[in-house]
Symmetry: C2
Subunit: 198 residues, 2 copies
Amino acid sequence: MDNTREIEALIELMARLPGLGPRSARRAVLALLKRRGQLMAPLAQAMATVALNARDCTVCGNIGTADICPICADPDRATGEICVVEDVADLWAMERTGAFKGRYHVLGGTLSALDGLGPDELGIPRLVRRVADEGICEVIMALNATVDGQTTAHYIADALTETTVQISSLAQGVPIGGELDYLDDGTIGAALRARRRL
Amino acid sequence: MDNTREIEALIELMARLPGLGPRSARRAVLALLKRRGQLMAPLAQAMATVALNARDCTVCGNIGTADICPICADPDRATGEICVVEDVADLWAMERTGAFKGRYHVLGGTLSALDGLGPDELGIPRLVRRVADEGICEVIMALNATVDGQTTAHYIADALTETTVQISSLAQGVPIGGELDYLDDGTIGAALRARRRL
Ligand SMILES: [Zn+2]
Ligand SMILES: [Zn+2]
């Protein structure tokens, strides 16, 4: 291939995005090259801005552009409910339903000795402290309906037994083995409304 | 959705890339957010560099980062052959085969009254001048095997009848209705070797 080095380097980086292989990365870069003023320059600028400013919320683990994410910073969301999710993608999926008005705890994974993910890595002690400090009355487990997700949910429920908080989990609507981020918004909303005590 | 404004803006721009819809753009941005140091910042930088430096080659229409693209600037490629392609993607596809050692003329489309693409927009007078000025002995039509592609190839052949240049076209291997950029490299190479006079 006889592209100039800079264009090759861009294609190689684009190919590392999920859902883009070498061929689709090439097509994407070509589309950008043809619209370098209207699309490529603004996209590069937007990406640089986010890369510079993005950070994990110190309270919940959501990704935003401030130390406290917009959800944690919003006083209208202090509803006494914390929704526990595995990943920021799951938080986004919950938010798209508009069905949940509380705050979140993003684990960043599930318990896994293999991946070196223990309670500390998932922020579970921090979650337990929040339950006491923020006067939380309900913790809603919105973990994936996988073995790892449910094992982690039960571990968290055990860690919270010394508090008086009510613990529930998303119930009907989440298919076995399914992942939240792939579900339609209506299904997630229904599962939230039909949540059951753990 | 409760992402911060900058992240939303980035997702919207990413969703305008070919092959990425709103959902896959979100997933791509999330993957970038999780690797903002190792991937997002370098990608933003690479994209900004290319957006700033990319330009159309004044000789052939290829996109590079200089006024003359690497292919036109390479003295080893002055073989007396010009390969005419519709699009930069097709030039890249030809280059991946490694089968062609000459230079290119990128039309940037096919003749289309509807799209306002006439001979001038496709640089056909410039191609005719190059044939004389560069001592070209063969013009190889590597246009898509579509009606528009073949109509344009014949128009170019007519425009070149006053020169003595030999005109050929990619022959076997290009399926009817097929587009070069989707073909495997071997097929394109075979079609090049088996080119026939037009
Ligand atoms: Zn937060
Ligand atoms: Zn050139």
